[in-house]
């Protein structure tokens, strides 16, 4: 059924259609609308049977999901930002134990300074946590990816994070096609646990493993993600045949066939990137884009195939790996090992800074002239940064960065300091 709906609500309805049995969640912006709607649906019996646990922290949310999954129930939670970091220990535990939990990450920046707006610092920080990571471009894809995520998670027995841009997607009203229950049921079979806490057949889960076997158990997580590499496109294909639309998969190419310049990015920013590409194409510029949908597992071969013929690759990412630069770009470079081309990393949109088509056009034009530096910061206010760096270099206490910068910009509230 097509309807105009908020992204969070659409995702909640998709999760509901997957018949989760235990939902445990702790509120954090911009994830709240998802779990609020799920709470409503559990109360009204629209999701039944289902237990909704209002836990005291994200650490508990993930821990309860671990218990629920190990006890044989389909378990779901959602979080963002600081919440994701607060559950990190449990994230590694869930993947290490091989529990097929599905979690939405409503992507949001990580403090300090505290900031509720969108970037990918949160989920990217967990790229090596053993979770499969899928990045949605649109609300429709976010909705669809959740349905696929349960299939993928349960088939390879690994947890899956569906990452969607906070506010940009979660709070945007768009027309989406909500599948009906019969369709989802035909696509997603009931959860059958690979390991189960059951008095009829008692097992020990989570034993202490020493050097003699730890390596092998860890390797299994990698091997299962490699299986997922085959499974993700297969599930996307199966999804297309049941639901009649393309969603998910490992990556998506946009006008890359003859492209000399290829932009690589994740999530909703692809929309703006494609608009900029269309304009440049009209001017005869051979430029295209690759949307990375699966960041873990990282599709090395597919990325290599998609980018290998280009003259230059611009990886635009909403994450800053402090001290080196890019995260996704490092992975893209691994895929391009041995291939000679110009590679540029562009950090953009941190803490919700708008990534405008105008800025992208300037960036891509500069890239076409190979005028970019290896590491670039899109629309960074360098004069402000330089002034604060000068203060820091001077001797003596210079005060908090935020206050200094706000004062430079002229925000009234900081003047009393």
């Amino acid at each position: 059924m097509r309807k105009q709906e908020e992204g969070s609500r659409a995702v909640a309805e998709a999760v509901a259609l997957c018949r989760p049995q235990v939902i445990s969640a702790y509120p954090i912006s911009p994830q709240t609308h998802i779990v609020e709607h799920l709470s409503d649906m559990v109360r009204t019996g629209e999701i039944d049977p289902c237990e909704y646990l209002m836990v005291e922290s994200e650490f508990a949310a993930m821990s309860a999901a671990i218990g629920a999954s190990a006890a044989g129930s389909r378990a779901y939670t959602a979080t963002a930002s600081q919440g994701l970091l607060y559950m990190v220990e449990a994230l590694y535990n869930a993947s290490g134990l091989g529990l097929p939990i599905v979690m939405t990450v409503a992507n949001r920046a990580i403090g300090a300074p505290i900031n509720i707006w969108n970037d990918h610092s949160d989920s990217m920080s967990q790229r090596d946590s053993g979770w499969i990571q899928l990045y949605a471009e649109t609300n429709q894809e976010a909705l669809d990816m959740h349905i696929q995520a349960f299939r993928i998670a349960e088939q390879v027995s690994l947890p899956v994070m569906v990452c969607m841009d906070g506010f940009i997607l979660t709070h945007a009203y768009e027309e989406v096609d909500i599948p009906d229950q019969a369709q989802v049921d035909s696509f997603l079979p009931p959860f059958e646990a690979r390991q189960l806490l059951d008095p009829a057949d008692p097992v020990t889960i989570g034993a202490m493993v020493g050097p003699e076997a730890f390596f092998e158990v860890k390797y299994l997580a990698h091997a299962k993600q490699m299986q997922a590499m085959d499974l993700i496109p297969e599930v996307a294909g199966g999804f297309a045949s049941v639901f009649g639309r393309e969603s998910g998969g490992l990556l998506r190419c946009y006008r890359t066939d003859d492209a000399e310049t290829i932009v690589v990015a994740l999530g909703s920013v692809l929309g703006t990137i494609e608009e900029a590409i269309d304009e440049l194409r009209e001017q005869g510029v051979r430029i295209g884009a690759v949307s990375l949908k699966s960041f873990r597992p990282f599709p090395l071969a597919e990325v290599r195939e998609a980018l290998g013929h280009a003259k230059r690759v611009v990886v635009l990412e909403k994450t800053l790996a402090v001290g080196i630069g890019g995260v996704a770009s490092a992975n893209v470079r691994t895929a391009l090992s041995g291939i000679q081309l110009n590679g540029y990393t562009v950090i953009a949109g941190l803490g919700g800074r708008s990534i405008t088509k105008e800025s992208l056009l300037r960036l891509f034009e500069a890239a076409g002239r190979d005028e970019l530096k290896p590491l670039n910061f899109l629309d960074l206010k360098t004069d402000i940064v330089d002034r604060e760096l000068a203060r820091v270099h001077a001797s003596g206490p210079s005060g908090p960065h935020e206050e200094n910068i706000l004062r430079d910009i002229g925000v009234v509230a900081a003047e009393a300091h």
């Binding site: 237990e51 646990l53 650490f59 218990g67 134990l97």
Partner: protein, 379 residues
Amino acid sequence: MPDPPEQEVKLYQAGTFVVGNRLLDPDERSVQARTERSNTLTSGHRACQGCGEALGARYTLDAAMRATDGQLVATNATGCLEVFSTPYPESSWQLPWIHSLFGNAPAVASGVAAALRAQGREEVRVIGQGGDGGTLDIGFACLSGMFERNDDVLFVCYDNEAYMNTGVQRSSATPPAARTSNTKPLGGQPGNVFGKGKNAPLIAMAHEIPYVATATVAELRDLEAKVERAMQIRGARYLHVFVPCPLGWGSASHDTIRLARLVKETGLFPVFEAEDGEVTGVSKIRRRVPVEEYLKLQKRYAHLFGDPPNTKVIAQIQARADRNIRNFGLLPEDGEGADLPGEAGDIAGASPGAPDPVEEAEGETNLMRLLASTPPGPQ
């Protein structure tokens, strides 16, 4: 340190309720003395000789298994119990058991209980367990959350009063003056400081959960009875079991039961039950003893018994015991410690497992009175 005095060996025959007596009528035997005990934590694990936690866990889980007809799932915090029971590829657990992390055993248990409820399998019950660090410190938020949601979980804390698994560091359950690896009696400090720490059973009661109880591994019929009572109740329940640790306390392995008995007989560890935030029963002191009798058996207090002994600190510890005795009404009605027949054995009383009813305080609830007058710290 001189050798501890020889313990008198007593042989029990039919007619006593000693916990291991298999000569009683089958119905009168403890769970552990029954032929059909489930050996939930079975032999071959790697706990130290004289480990109070292994003993407490075995009795607790066997009693819980019996009370639930074997329909039981356990979650476990990281710690000694987890490490000594599951060194891969071995496991001592004969029930479905999961260890996730140090600080999340109560939340994992909540998740298991929610899953079972969603599956309509509420006949399967859930028990969470951890040591004092995993329960009172790193797992405390998850424990409190489980309590306030009143999730159908019995959480059991095996309290040996420090982080034994990592090498005997202080926890918030470490008693004043105790020496641990990071509360050594150095620089004029008496060991662990006074006036800090937390009283988990009282905090559990403040959540007004259906059932809270304390027990020791000296009174094992009492422990079994409390587990059985706990499993008759739905909702969040908390059982705090005092388990001596020979390694961490510097006590003799054969003194584990004696120490668990003495901690109660001194008044340092009140043994009681509470329902819905109200104390419903206390185990009275049978033969009151001064705290020195308990302290002297442990090297963690050796610095108090030099030449001359640190009488000031010992008096402070005695004062804590005395406060417990007053606050919980631990002495029998006549105010004298009364010897009961067969008192030297691990007998909870002529009527196994039934604590005496507590005296009602006038004008205020038990919890209010306890919270107002009990010093912080587990003892």
